[in-house]
Symmetry: D2
Subunit: 311 residues, 4 copies
């Protein structure tokens, strides 16, 4: 892997559609709403639990962010609703309200299969129009996913490259994934969760926030067939996984499109992977048990989450 | 254990204060905000992971409830904010807003140590007035807790009694805990999480919702010294853990008070334990790995959660 | 007018559609978004101001209601966000957040022309599907309405009948309107706002809240051609104006449909008209200057309001 | 009035406290919550209505702003909750949720008397701590104010100066008020509402938004005794009325403090006065009937409003 990866290959819409057809798993599973999470069998859960050796639990969610910024145009809400003076004591109770339009670049969250439609169709081929309305999603709800316990793999690209972070716009390509896998001694296999660290939050702490829609490091679509071939159940990143500017003609989020709409692979966006990077480096391994426990929102297109890696 | 437990013993405020002093652990740990979660060592995490044998993950959170009712006076919000027609395609993105004043009886949530003050003081003795304000909690925030991975124990009282549920107002006393432990073949020990099933959600499905503040099955305070002596890290229930009407003079939530303010033990409220009851009965054991992953809300007094039991 | 008005005449869908065609004003005005508010000329505004004789301003909005109930399934939110301890003093500032899904039966609000579509079409004939989406209304937004100053007429039916209120299910028919007009010495004419008092909030205070969707006093559709013929600009009520159960086959809100979708007449729902009833009785007249000042919400389908009657 | 007004005089805290004592009206009125609105008698209402000559109604509220920016760190919420697909048709209903933490610089709103405390005391001398809590304000709520109908006076400073706007930081001093009054042929007198136009929204449209807390044109405290002497009932502005940086030592909002906490004068913040400026210039007069109709929020510290000027 080189820190100067050369120009990002452009992808035509026709090439993209061929990729989409190549990685598509429509009709493979029941229930279809769980998509690639159907890959995770009890045996995978047991093997994930067996990866716990140090007994260290590392949270991957970032703090609930109520401050606006270039990567947080719809800040989350946090309101205190009782300071011990509303409901009568004793005891006095302190209460709060939380609210968030959590998709975007600021809240750590899971994308369910209803989040993305391509050419008007959700994963499995259902027309989005009939399936998602003001009352929520009738297909692909986060409630259909439930929790996930599986092997997680940290693709710590900055660690491999010996840099603090990948610069915004840096493509993570198939060759990068293979080299990271080798360099970090990890194996991406059936049912696992792949977490891509670009170093976004280290960069953000050092240089300040920026608009990820304008430029962010992320997977180039050429890495997706590799991940599809390995049978991943979940993709996550410290951004939203997508390279921006998008290399695909007329498509703002091609990796979202392939993962969610073609492969049935939910995404974890905006994870803070800095602590996990340190923990993995310390432990000398980049695999761990990952637990993702989305809120059970009927009709929800996803959920804020605080995934936990246990080493 | 008898299905007719006799009258509920009343507790004077003086007796309660003696109990409070008896189970208090103020000053024992650093950081104090994590309270009894400091009991959970890496060794406990490893032993919890070793409890995973079947590879079955059971979610304990109930559905996000937007309908008002006697146990849901402040219904949660779920608003669709993009139906593929706001942000330009392709792909089209579906997005939603979630909001909740989650304390109460409807949302599955974790209470952090800032949630409850007794006689004006939070766990550890800090005056609540200086520590919790409109900007949130400066001590005992849910952000200070982080995630928990530990051994969970299901006290499935209806299973022990051979009933569908405990009637509202039924006290769960020290003797009941001991009998359940024995009958279910479980052991409550240092660092574990105890989950009390009263059958609330089975009763709710069959008979409809009711106001838990008026009557609910829950721990009598006489069970708390037993739990304290075992060194529990977390208490959870399918209600909020407290018996109502409260047996303690002038105190609406005595178990909350003892657990949170005296013992530093966070609480899980409103868990749906019906699925776990079935899974434990099927597996023939009532212990499992429990993972609780609250949102990282700076200054938050708790968090909606969807805890996962893995058998 | 009789307090025993006899059975409510049923209306077939075919009859309703004929009514719809009869009162329809599509294509009459520019801008179409303002509908019947285009009837209110500067001369109407001047004449309304000339109705101010006593100098008494009576608010018609009911209190912001955060408590759930049979007529308030989506309670409004009111959260304190600063108690003088967030932003640094001096001075100390107290701040709050307000939120409401205000359509329904609990918040006093204005319905803009985008609120209702019949047979898929908004006022003027535009297909609703293209005009209203997750980003809001592109036609018939409350922002297009702006404020209204015009003559208001209180149809105080209980005063005419000498009762405290109309019972839920009582139809207000064309003959009732004519008799009320005569008995109260008022004239419904071009550009005026007609406010129907059924006594809902007096009944609610005395007997408690009930589900207005199940039963409410309101206009029968046979009163609408009369109101249309007079050229009203606005209809308001202490309920939502519609009689329930609906007398029209397969249509839950026929008066909403005729007023908004056919006539371009915005509606004011859930006004508290008890104070105005007393003030009008005291003044010996039922006409006044009415000022309605909706929030300027781009794309909004209406707005919470506190209309003011000035006598 | 000069477009180069010279340096802004600094005011010590001691001088400010003397000003506070000078303009204080504590104890003058019952109910105290309505403060200076008690000045507005029925005779004032009648005279205000008599100012309506052209029949032109001009809204002063700015659009509900959901986009973050330097003057909008807590953007308002606007969510569509029904697009005709939630509640069953016919007719189809479109509904939306509105939410705002409306104090600040983005939402046109009214400040009630509970909004500001100085040295821990609200208007009338009540300690703020006991009067305002998480449940809202028990004194000085916007619900106690009700609506206001009175004579409005537009102090159109840029029109007087022949400029597009006042630059941020420009003080509006007593002499400026007197000169504007004379130049515009208006009279500020007992019970009237004074609206200060600085041209903020014209500047914002031409140059973009900026942080008003850092720099804004507004009243210098030396103008306040003049306004107090005239017996104004309400002050409004296209900013928040206060000059920033504050000329008073250790006090971020001295005009808020004097108006609200000393004089009992509510404030209207963030009015868009551009349309009114044009209308007044066209009409050749700067007085009009002003109607302010806040939402009736029990315990609310203010309300979003869309005041209406009628010429």
């Amino acid at each position: 892997m080189s820190s100067d990866p050369g120009p990002v290959p452009r992808v035509s819409r026709q090439e993209f559609d061929a990729l989409f057809a190549e990685v598509r798993t429509w009709g493979r599973w029941e229930p279809a709403d769980r998509g690639a999470w159907n890959r995770v069998t009890p045996e995978h859960v047991r093997r994930a639990a067996a990866l716990v050796r140090d007994g260290t639990a590392v949270p991957l969610g970032r703090p609930w962010d109520t401050r606006p910024g270039p990567d947080n145009p719809r800040p989350a809400l946090h309101h205190m609703t009782d300071l011990g003076d509303v409901e009568p004591p004793e005891p006095s109770a302190h209460k709060d309200f939380l609210g968030a339009d959590y998709h975007g670049k600021a809240v750590s969250h899971l994308d369910a299969l209803s989040h993305i439609a391509y050419r008007g169709r959700l994963y499995g081929g259902r027309p989005a129009r009939g399936a998602v309305g003001a009352g929520g999603a009738r297909f692909g709800s986060v409630a259909a996913l439930g929790p996930l316990v599986t092997k997680g793999v940290l693709l710590d690209l900055p660690a491999v490259l010996g840099t603090g972070w990948l610069e915004p716009g840096r493509a993570v390509r198939a060759a990068d994934v293979l080299e990271a896998e080798r360099a970090l001694g990890t194996v991406i296999d059936e049912g696992c969760a792949v977490l891509l660290r670009t170093g976004r939050f280290r960069r953000r702490r050092e240089l300040g926030p920026w608009d990820l829609d304008a430029a962010s490091a992320g997977f180039h679509v050429d890495a997706v067939p590799l991940l599809a071939g390995r049978g991943v159940a979940l993709l996550g990143a410290d951004g939203d996984g997508d390279l921006r500017p998008s290399p695909v003609e007329g498509l703002h989020s091609p990796v979202h499109t392939l993962a969610i709409a073609a492969m049935g692979v939910p995404l974890l966006d905006n994870l803070d992977l800095e602590g996990l990077s340190t923990a993995c480096a310390g432990a000398g391994r980049h695999t761990f048990m990952l637990v993702v426990a989305p809120l059970d929102v009927p009709g929800g297109t996803g959920s804020p989450v605080n995934p936990v890696a246990v080493l």
